[in-house]
């Protein structure tokens, strides 16, 4: 589904990502761990093609096609979708108006909005005056409406209370697995995702397949998400950096 080869990215003239290699297979949900400032969000923004994130080396392959030079719209139309941390305010653009344009099935989306307590935001200006939790729910609702094949999720649970984490987690899981009953089915028919998480709380609600650790703009290591999360909790990221240095 997604293959990142040797990706080096500059932001504001500064190299933030260096030689990143990473993969998300069809139906897989991979996790991106890393300390603050490691470049995790930069990686997701670069994948979506936002301006200001300049690929100076390497390539991004999505569904077998090199998309490194495609526009944001083209990537979205190919089936990529993102949930960002700090979406901009769009005065006068109503949530429902946007849903009407992007929803593959508006009725489903409206139903989902009801279950997420978001229907009352339909006539609100997008993101204007939304609380942290409301932004997450609105982003997720839009992403569900869009129903992309690859979901880029930037800390879906940050700044959200416990009850809301459950709602977000189960909604994301539903979006990813559709009606698949087991991991085997998920790998065949499910959606793919790359998820950034600090706390790992969101992982309680979804099956994950592989984790990458990103430090100082470079992938340090990859492996089983649970094991890695436990190791990070115990030892922090210092060990990852030391370990990588040993390798060199």
């Amino acid at each position: 589904m997604l293959e990142i080869n040797n990706l080096t990215v500059e932001v504001g003239g500064r190299k933030v990502l260096k030689d990143v290699d990473l993969e998300v297979e069809t139906g897989h949900t991979n996790v991106l761990f890393g300390p603050n400032g490691a470049g995790k969000s930069v990686l997701l923004m670069t994948l979506m093609g936002f301006s200001g994130y300049n690929v100076v080396e390497g390539e991004i392959i999505f569904k077998g096609e090199d998309i490194t030079s495609l526009s944001v719209s083209q990537r979205a139309q190919m089936g990529m979708g993102i949930m960002t941390q700090r979406p901009p305010n769009l005065s006068g653009v109503k949530l429902h108006d946007l849903l009407e344009v992007i929803a593959k099935d508006l009725r489903d989306t409206e139903e989902l909005a009801g279950s997420m307590d978001m229907a009352r935001f339909f006539e609100r200006d997008l993101n204007v005056g939304f609380s942290g939790g409301e932004i997450k729910r609105s982003e997720l609702l839009q992403l569900s409406a869009q129903d992309p094949d690859l979901l880029l999720l930037d800390e879906p649970e940050s700044g959200v209370d416990l009850a809301s984490i459950e709602l977000l987690g189960t909604t994301i899981n539903k979006l990813l697995t559709k009606d698949c009953k087991c991991p085997g089915e998920r790998f065949k028919y499910g959606k793919s995702a790359l998820v950034i998480t600090h706390t790992g709380q969101i992982l309680d609600y979804m099956g994950t397949d592989r984790a990458y650790i990103l430090c100082n703009g470079t992938v340090m290591c990859s492996g089983n998400p649970r094991e890695m999360l436990n190791a990070i909790k115990e030892q922090g990221y210092e060990e990852c950096i030391k370990c990588k240095l040993m390798e060199i």
Partner: protein, 407 residues
């Protein structure tokens, strides 16, 4: 006491007096618009082209959902009809002056004839226009619609309107101003004096749709008495040579309220100098002013002015200007407090659409064009109600073109 003769002399002297702002038009370049235009009893008899022109400024020739209609072409009133005779009066100003002797106490009292050459010209020509009055306590269910049309080439049209909403009454007015298809050059001078009395409400929507070589000089003053409400929506989205206006609202009674919304697009070659002034003369009076303008190559100047002369007054002014491609946006907010207990504030911002906003929508699979269109539509949405479907469709089309051209 000042006589008509004195005023005439002053006005004659003012014929050479340039306005404070905007391009200085030479009145002698324009012929005087004719007062002899054929009257139309049944609006269905109007040509398809004329009907389209009317629709695009919010005037529905079928008169659905309207309580009355008046059309002025050049300097002639060519149609008047009224359904809700019990709740509202509508006629030409000249007829009204004949019917109501007291009306002379309202004419040329808010707008001074010698303000500038345009008011002087309108005064000296004894300009006709519409007279609308809602009697005390009366509320019409549907708006009155009026249309002021330039029908001949290279003429100056002079208009004088008076609107009176008596105590406790409510009135909605939609006025569309335009030029007949094929008329590219001309001058429109429009005097409007509006009186909103105690506890009354006037909801006034004005739509302009001119042509590339037309100059427009409206001169409007509104007086609002105790607990009265004046809401103004001004929309101009099509090319025009120059519009310069500075409508002034005087909040004269305790608790009086005004809201002024302006949405405008300055196309290449257009200069829009659109001001609004609110003077707070009474306790606890309040006002909101919202200006949303776009330039796609023209000059847009948004002047907003609030002058606080009474305790407890509150006002907020918002000027937002987008630059799409080329053009100039100038926002000039002015706040003045002349007493202590007053709260006036403003926010002004000019510039391009943030790239981040466009890409946010692009990431939701919209094309760049559609993303800009959606942002522009949102930007111009200040919640104006009661716009007819045809006009909405025309506005959407204009916005779509702006989106296409902005890339």
């Amino acid at each position: 006491m000042q006589t008509d003769g004195d005023m005439r002399k002053k006005a004659e002297a003012a014929l050479r007096k340039s306005a404070s702002y905007g391009e200085d038009f030479d009145l002698e370049d324009y012929g005087i618009a004719t007062s002899d235009v054929q009257y139309t009893e049944d609006l269905k008899e109007l040509s398809e082209e004329d009907q389209r022109t009317l629709l695009n400024v919010g005037f529905t020739p079928a008169e659905e959902n309207r309580s009355g209609s008046l059309i002025m072409i050049d300097n002639a009133i060519t149609h008047t009809s009224l359904r809700e005779k019990d709740v509202v009066e509508l006629m030409s100003l000249k007829d009204a002056m004949k019917v109501h002797d007291w009306l002379k106490d309202y004419a040329w009292k808010l707008v001074k004839p010698d303000s500038d050459k345009y008011t002087a010209m309108s005064y000296l020509q004894d300009a006709n226009g519409y007279f609308i009055r809602a009697p005390a306590g009366k509320k019409s269910k549907m708006p009155i619609q009026t249309c002021l049309l330039i029908g001949s080439k290279q003429v100056s049209q002079t208009v004088h309107n008076i609107v009176i909403v008596e105590e406790g009454a409510e009135l909605d007015v939609i006025t569309g101003c335009s030029a007949r298809h094929g008329i590219e050059e001309g001058l429109h001078l429009g005097i409007s004096e509006m009186y909103v009395k105690k506890g009354a409400t006037l909801n006034f929507t004005m739509v302009h749709n001119w042509a590339r070589q037309i100059g427009v000089r409206p001169r409007t003053v509104v007086r609002v008495e105790e607990s009265g409400t004046y809401i103004s929506n001004y929309i101009t989205l099509k090319p025009v040579k120059s519009v310069q206006s500075y409508p002034t609202v005087i909040l004269e009674g305790k608790g009086a309220f005004a809201r002024l919304n302006t949405i405008a697009v300055a196309h290449p070659g257009s200069e829009l100098d659109l001001g609004s002034k609110v003077i707070f003369e009474a306790e606890d009076s309040s006002a909101e002013m919202i200006s949303r303008t776009i330039t796609t190559g023209g000059v847009s100047i948004a002047r907003g002015e609030m002058i606080g002369n009474a305790n407890g007054a509150k006002g907020h002014l918002e000027c937002h200007g987008l630059v799409l491609g080329e053009g100039t946006q100038r926002a000039i907010p002015i706040l003045e407090a002349n007493v202590e207990d007053i709260e006036l504030s403003h926010e002004a911002a000019v510039g391009r659409i943030a790239r981040e906003q466009i890409e946010y929508l692009m990431a939701r699979s919209l094309s760049e064009e559609d993303a800009i269109g959606m942002i522009v539509r949102g930007f111009l949405d200040v919640g104006i109600e009661g716009i007819p479907e045809e006009l909405k469709a025309d506005i959407d089309e204009t916005i779509e073109k702006i989106g296409e051209n902005a890339i």
